[in-house]
Homo-oligomer: 335 residues x 2
Amino acid sequence: MQDVADLAGVSRTTVSFVLNKVESANIPTDTQDRVLAAAKELNYRRNALASGLRSQKTHTIGFVSDVIASTPFAGRIVQGAQERAWEENYLLLLVNTGNNQAMKKTAVETLLDRQVDGIIYATMYHREVHPPASIREVPTVLLDCFVADHSLPSVVPDEIRGGYEATSYLIQQGHRKIAFICDAVEVPAHVGRLAGYKKALTEAEIPFDANLVAFDETTQQGGRDLAKKLFNRADRPTALFCYNDRMAMGAYDALNALNLSIPDDVAVIGFDDQDLIAADLDPGLTTMALPHYEMGSWAVNHLLELINRRHNGTEQASKPKQQILECPLIKRGSA
Amino acid sequence: MQDVADLAGVSRTTVSFVLNKVESANIPTDTQDRVLAAAKELNYRRNALASGLRSQKTHTIGFVSDVIASTPFAGRIVQGAQERAWEENYLLLLVNTGNNQAMKKTAVETLLDRQVDGIIYATMYHREVHPPASIREVPTVLLDCFVADHSLPSVVPDEIRGGYEATSYLIQQGHRKIAFICDAVEVPAHVGRLAGYKKALTEAEIPFDANLVAFDETTQQGGRDLAKKLFNRADRPTALFCYNDRMAMGAYDALNALNLSIPDDVAVIGFDDQDLIAADLDPGLTTMALPHYEMGSWAVNHLLELINRRHNGTEQASKPKQQILECPLIKRGSA
């Protein structure tokens, strides 16, 4: 592929786009012609190029992530991916890039040089990404992230349904005055969970009250500050939906300090099922689990399908799959 | 190397041991002779074998870990290793193996097949390990673990000094009745921190009181149960040293329930500087930081030295370095 690129005077990625007919790349027609001519001259066959110039699978998957391997937030993504890969005798080679764009490019190219059969590109939290173009040389699945034009397959959590289920659960228990403390940054989880919260209220014919919703950093401190403000008054809410378990942990401190008991005075529900926090608070935190393990497993599973199709020559020109996975309710003592 | 192994009828690892003169491998003399004869017959030079049959460095380091990338406990090991590697234009290829011995072997061999220049073998907590023999084919550093015969270089935290500094800090603040809640399992951290606790007491001429030391699981629940038992009495201790921050988090709950305030009634010190817990408790937890980042950085640094020496042909027959790194005291509000 490098030879074709050199002869045509373009990047290896451009060669890949042209030979794999990636239309969204918008390669000018004359460049396309030059690449095809170079490929013909060098007598390269499309199949060999498409499968990375090799006839055999290497049974390795490259796993590029931002900070999953170095922060305590989303390790079960790795676990889910890894266990599904092992079942199929595949090994994951992880590269943790930090949030450095140049590093991401290097990571992808190093993995391609080492002939991985496919790549999973994963983020610590649900967000839009701009992966390096070279990632399209092999089958790729985005994990807990997506590209704006949906030109790569992706798996993310169902944020709206998560927010809806959490709020509905509190409503079913008789609560009508339900506070929501939320991330101040408008990431997909902020938008989705807030939409779900409103949807559940509407369905139960409870008018939305903007005074019950407050925004801050998604830390214990943020949760502590907001809960103190929302619950230190006579007409306080009877339930609290927290954007994440870290905020819930801070809310516990604030409610304790106000001598309000959980769940009798205030029912609390979190989000994430965060390791080290959710199951370990006293009382245990009822929360919506992020399907980290399941997303990891789904991503590997779908990637293996794509790899096999490419190897069997049965690739389809279908739309890349955009999967959303449910956030299950984990019941503990707090609500 | 595989050809030599096939001709001699031994494993690739045995070939590596013999050609690299690894005495601790105890290869029988007749096997050694067979390998050397095979190597001669195939006209392989020692240098080529020693450097993995390649003339150039690949600028990649294999990083094999048990569960670091999938649990919230030791991510800063990855961060420290990665940042030091980037500074030298090296990329880390991580393989997270779980605690599966067969997987560890596969991981090491896959990395060797992909021509990493060296391997870091890391564990989530300080312990003895039995890495696959093939790891000795390239320069290797053990991170947060060690082999019993010290035949591989290693970096681990200074547990004794950590226990000593934590206890001494409480003594300096005037405490003489200091409880210690500890892991029930006799891992190196249990043995070391307990020894450090006793050493600090002895130095301050405070008699050791076995009733002030209690053991349980290293979870919030364990900490909660032990603190409840130790502090629910009139002649209660005035300070508490916790084996880890999870136990300290549980102890906070128990002390709150007993209406004892931190640090006025009871000073609390933890261990780990655990993300999501230590800085986020109220009051913030004073704790001994595990030098995760620093161990990661040290391991890469030492590995690069070993890699360079092998490439320059200046390897020395010196004893593998056994490095211990200090656990710094992080002062917050709890003590």
